[in-house]
Symmetry: C2
Subunit: 105 residues, 2 copies
């Protein structure tokens, strides 16, 4: 019966935010997009080739990641280059690699 309910260590707002972030990464294609991006800025066309699905499909997934402020982009003439804009996401990607790829070498 404290002033602040400490039976709940985790703020629901943090949980919601984290869950939304995880959800964005939780699709194989989106996760792969994030992995191939890493710290680079890559054009949609190149992403399509590296990830391997239709251009329309990639575009839709990019739009999802864009809406959640995970990706940024810059246009250059005909092309659009996407990059990971959220530093937390970069950390997460790195950690995911450590955790899920450590034993598979």
């Amino acid at each position: 019966m404290e002033t602040i309910d400490n039976h709940n260590i985790y703020a629901d707002a943090d949980i919601e935010r984290a869950a939304r972030c995880l959800k964005a990464m939780s699709h194989p294609l989106r996760l792969k997009i994030l992995c191939v991006l890493g710290t680079e800025a890559i054009s949609v066309q190149d992403i399509v080739e590296k990830v391997g699905t239709s251009q329309s499909n990639i575009s839709q997934h990019l739009s999802i990641l864009r809406e959640k402020d995970i990706l940024g982009f810059k246009k250059d003439a005909n092309r659009v280059f996407y990059y990971i804009d959220d530093p937390r996401m970069l950390k997460l990607i790195e950690m995911m690699r450590e955790i899920f790829c450590a034993e598979c070498k």
Copy 2:
């Protein structure tokens, strides 16, 4: 044109596995369950109280986490105690807290 296609650094199997894991965590209630569990084994009833939704709903989410081998459980008389069984998941939870709760203090 190497023997192993290195235009693709990330094995699709790893991606799939990681994505499945992320998906399991990507629901607010499930994430919260994992957070309150931490390294402990907690009964369903206690989880219900700490997480805050119906018992049936918690049970369903527990079942999802169980199916994906993220949670283990042991029965004791009337109760069932759940715990995080996958060490990778524990790491992930820890990292999530660092990333999403670091700046919010």
